[in-house]
């Protein structure tokens, strides 16, 4: 029920609480973008709810002048599923971290994604546990030295996008804290998607994992290491836009444009591909072998748990009429005394 909304500014979305991240933390940029994007979404503040788990990132809801729930570690998707399933009128965002979302919360993440509940989830990936002071996380690379892995991490990291795609995601995207324009656009796309929209955001923890994403953010290297996906467009990157990705069987390869290779030889992006294999393939392109794609990997339509649940409610009511408790009590075999 869209009603006439007053024109709001980012400042209208700032709560009265002090923001308590370390100076220089990437979370600030993400918060700023969210506040900027919010007024453009055409949703009243009181119909927006942010739900988070525990972690630095999970402080996010306190700073938004909307409704919010700072819940327990890893479980935000479950709270959000309950809320959204019973309140279709709300726009629900989940904010999580690489530990919150993929370590303790991995199961809920997986099931949220497959259920395709109509809500948006942003995973602030700083490849570290920030709040608990620097243990490695499920996205920390092999060999990562941290307080809990003094000899280096020995677990293969998870790739958040591959996981999501492996779990039947209908919308997956990636952006970067400091890429503010891109980030804002991706947030908007997520908001528009119907179903679970998952965004991985590269976020710098300048205290415990400073520079983890330097290759993707530093002026000198970012053009060679990041590739902006555009629907229907060939995969091109490099400062001079002179490099591209070509498909060889099911393997991507980096090629230079010119010298007999034209744009038409390249892999073309298709967000809408019904099968997720292309999105999966793109999620496998990792630094340093490949530039890492950012933008929307996949955006398709599918049944949404919450929508279907409410549709069943409506259908049942239409078919059987609004439930009548007295009729229920008196159903089946009964007998009368006295």
């Amino acid at each position: 029920m869209p009603t006439e909304l007053p024109t709001l500014t980012p400042a209208d979305f700032a709560s009265d609480q002090d923001v308590r991240w370390c100076p220089g933390c990437g979370d600030y940029a993400i918060l700023a973008q969210m506040k900027k994007v919010m007024p453009q979404l055409g949703v009243a503040r009181e119909n927006v709810v942010f739900i988070s788990g525990i972690g630095c990132s999970s402080r996010f809801p306190y700073y938004m002048n909307t409704y919010g729930l700072h819940s327990i570690h890893g479980r935000a998707p479950a709270f959000a599923t309950g809320l959204k399933s019973s309140r279709q009128d709300l726009q629900v965002w989940v904010v999580t971290g690489d530990g919150d979302g993929l370590s303790i919360g991995g199961n809920h993440f997986m099931h949220l994604i497959r259920r395709n509940v109509d809500l948006k989830i942003m995973l602030f990936n700083n490849r570290i546990y920030g709040l608990t002071k620097g243990q490695y996380s499920p996205t920390s690379p092999l060999g990562k030295v941290s307080v809990s892995t003094p000899m280096g991490a020995i677990d293969n990291p998870l790739n958040p996008l591959s996981v999501a795609i492996g779990c039947e995601a209908t919308f997956v995207a990636r952006s970067i804290d400091v890429n503010i324009k891109h980030l804002g656009e991706v947030m908007k796309r997520a908001a528009e998607h119907k179903g679970t929209a998952f965004i991985e955001i590269y976020q710098n923890c300048n205290v415990f994992n400073d520079g983890a994403w330097d290759y993707a953010t530093s002026k000198e290297t970012k053009h060679d290491n990041v590739l902006e996906l555009e629907h229907g467009k060939p995969l091109i990157f490099g400062k001079a836009k002179n490099k591209g990705i070509r498909l060889n069987g099911t393997h991507p390869e980096v090629v230079e444009l010119g010298k007999g290779i034209s744009e038409d030889d390249l892999l073309f992006h298709d967000e809408k591909a019904p099968e997720p294999t292309l999105a999966y393939l793109l999620s496998r392109m990792r630094h340093p072998e490949f530039p890492e794609p950012i933008g929307v990997f996949r955006d398709v339509d599918g049944p949404k748990y919450d929508v279907e649940l409410n549709r069943q409610i409506t259908a049942a009511r239409e078919k059987k009429g609004e439930g009548d408790l007295n009729a229920l009590y008196n159903s089946g075999e009964t007998w009368t005394v006295g």
Binding site: H70, A78, S85, S86, K319, G323, L325, Y329, T336
Partner: protein, 649 residues
């Protein structure tokens, strides 16, 4: 087919003996359809106006191989012309479909009781599976001690169904209806209700209807016409309070109570649950009622289940989660958050035998500590326990009344015994039930900021929900400032909040009334019980009172907080006895709180109390010799439409 009775003075053939009540048990292999048989017998008896109480007892986990001891499934029915509160201690009649059932159930049959066996199933292989070296049916012992009836049920059923065109396998699955028909004859029951059941249940399978009808009739006729049975029994209708009744299972009553509470409070119900025995049936039942606005969510695990319910509660729904012990253990952290958020929530625990996976299909009351004390930090919550199958309906409503009034999660305890048991339920009129008023705050007229932790006289905070303009606020699990709800780490505030949350729970005592006692106001002994042991304790105390013993009975509905006068009540008796199906959990709390030397009667066998066990304990406490000298034994069970087996996990 020989018939021998231990009571030679039995009258003419086909005498009808009136008895005030009877307890029977059907038992057989878990594939033998004993649960359906028992269910049918129960409904029919209830329709005849008897008071009834049932106790289904089925194997844990996986269907065991046919014919083994582990695979035995039983269903006990106590039906009576008087008010009854338990499914009975010892059996008047036992129907066994195979040797394994005989072996595991015989000890519950009273001396001189009726023992009906499907003698066709006592072949060498059957005997081996049950660990019998020789056929017990051939031994004189059984004939001496019981009224033994060896009936060739398989053969007769096959005979009766030979023209149905069904295969042997299908035909043999009708044996239970033969047994049912026979017992119907034995107790003078009407076959009509079961015929109606068959018609409605198998409306698209006329051959099944025909076959089971034939089998049942064959059983009836067997009793009526053969020489085997010389007399039958009659149990007159009970004098229940006037009204319309239906037979009610505990889990169904719980589900209906929840739906009723939702409607009474103008709320839609959201259930987040993960299947687990013996709680799953509530999920199943609620899933049927989408046209009541009931949303059920089978979550990926118990943690997601409780968290989704809290999420729904945050949005203004009636949030519920159901489980059993191991699942409740997983919900502890989530419940702690709900306590901190001060949101209404119902956590329903259908207790089973523990610890760990334990005895998944058996009953126990050993989760009381977990309910009251089993969370990190100071995290009190109200706890209510249902006392009988039908009472689950009322307990659910009362729990929600308190939870929504006080903005606090409430734990509702039931157990496998009352969850699967049944009793006649006086059908209420929804319109006469007391409404549950719920107010959601709206923005103040003077533009004052919304204070999510401002409290009313009972210390409840307002339930502000998303979607309301001007009430935007953020909640979380960190300690928060009173009134504003902002994160706050100040020492004094924390202490204040810990006390406030506790006082709020204590204030529930102002809403739940005083503790009542059945029996003398003062006396030698008070029996203090809670939960599903109500029936056994009530019956035992009444029996003792009839014997002139100065004993009274107080049954606790709320386990936290206790009624305000409980301390006074306890002091009025010289002794306090707390019977529990655990090692003494309520007793421990009572002792601590009131410093009374309460004694325990404790049974941890996955089974309910027998009335005589409680009677014996009462007499023991008072130094009286036991009423009959004999150690009390267990109670009633037969076996036939075979379903998917009876199990749980």
């Amino acid at each position: 087919m020989t018939t021998t009775t231990a009571e030679p003075e039995v009258a003419n053939p086909k005498t009808v003996n009136p008895v005030p009540s009877a307890t029977i048990r059907f038992c057989g292999d878990s594939g033998d359809g004993m649960q359906i048989t028992g269910d049918q017998f129960t409904s029919t008896s209830a329709l005849l106006g008897n008071d009834v109480a049932t106790f289904p007892d089925y194997p844990a986990e996986i269907r065991a191989p046919r014919g083994t001891l582990a695979g035995v499934s039983g269903f006990q029915v106590h039906f009576s012309s008087e008010d009854i509160f338990t499914p009975g201690d010892t059996l008047d009649a036992l129907v066994v479909m195979n040797p394994a059932a005989l072996k595991t159930n015989l000890r519950d049959l009273r001396k001189g009781g009726i023992l009906i066996c499907n003698s066709d199933n006592f072949q060498k292989s059957d005997l081996d599976l049950a660990g019998y070296d020789v056929n017990p049916l051939d031994s004189q012992v059984l004939e001496d001690q019981y009224q033994l009836f060896k009936v060739q049920m398989t053969k007769i059923t096959r005979e009766a169904l030979k023209d149905t065109g069904l295969g042997t396998k299908e035909v043999d699955r009708c044996k239970n209806f033969f047994a049912l028909g026979l017992v119907y004859w034995l107790y003078g029951r009407d076959q009509e209700p079961t015929l109606r059941y068959l018609q409605s249940k198998f409306s698209n399978k006329p051959e099944i209807i025909a076959a089971n009808t034939k089998a049942m009739r064959a059983g009836w006729n067997y009793g009526e016409t053969t020489d085997a049975f010389t007399s039958s029994y009659k149990v007159e209708p009970a004098q229940l309070p006037p009204g319309k009744y239906k037979n009610m299972k505990g889990n169904t009553a719980m589900a209906w109570g929840l739906m009723t509470a939702a409607k009474l409070s103008g709320k839609e119900l959201f259930l987040g649950s993960y299947p687990i025995t013996p709680a799953s049936d509530i999920l199943h039942e609620l899933s049927k009622f989408k046209n009541f606005g009931v949303r059920t969510f089978q979550a990926e695990d118990e943690i997601a289940a409780v968290c989704s319910a809290i999420g729904a509660a945050y949005g203004g729904a009636m949030g519920i989660t159901t489980s059993s012990g191991p699942g409740i253990a997983l919900k502890g952290e989530g419940i702690g958050l709900a306590i901190m958020l001060e949101l209404p929530l119902l956590v329903i625990n259908i207790q089973r035998g523990g610890p760990s996976t334990g005895l998944p299909t058996k009953t126990e009351q050993a989760d009381l500590f977990q309910a009251i004390l089993g969370r990190n930090g100071e995290s009190p919550m109200p706890v209510i326990a249902a006392r009988s199958p039908g009472d689950c309906f009322d307990a659910a409503i009362e729990a929600w009344r308190i939870s929504s009034r006080m903005m606090v999660p409430v734990m509702v305890l039931s157990d496998g015994y009352i969850a699967n048991g049944s009793e006649p339920w006086l059908i209420p009129d929804y319109n006469k039930l007391e409404k549950i008023p719920i107010h959601h705050p709206v923005p103040s007229e003077n533009g004052e900021k919304f204070k999510p932790y401002q409290r009313d006289e009972l210390l409840a905070r307002p339930w502000g929900i998303p979607g309301i303009k001007g009430l935007m606020h953020r909640l979380g699990g960190l300690e928060k400032q009173d009134v504003t709800g902002n994160v706050n780490y100040e020492p004094e505030n924390h202490e204040h909040m810990v006390h406030t949350r506790a006082k709020k729970v204590d204030n529930v005592a102002q809403l739940i009334g005083l503790q009542e006692v059945e029996g003398p106001e003062t006396g030698d002994l008070l029996v203090l019980s809670w939960g599903g042991t109500y029936g056994a304790c009530k019956t035992a105390v009444e029996q003792c009172q009839e014997q002139g013993i100065k004993v009274a009975h107080a049954h606790l509905r709320w386990l936290n907080p206790f009624p305000r006068n409980l301390g006074d009540v306890l002091k009025r008796y010289k002794k306090v006895l707390v019977p529990e199906l655990n090692k003494g959990q309520l007793r421990m709390i009572i002792r601590s709180k009131y410093l009374v030397d309460a004694q325990g009667l404790n049974k941890i066998q996955g089974r309910p109390f027998f009335v005589q066990e409680v009677v014996a304990a009462i007499r023991g406490q008072l130094g009286l010799a036991s009423a009959n000298g004999s150690k009390p034994t267990a109670t009633a069970a037969v076996s036939g439409i075979a379903g998917s087996g009876d199990a749980g996990g």
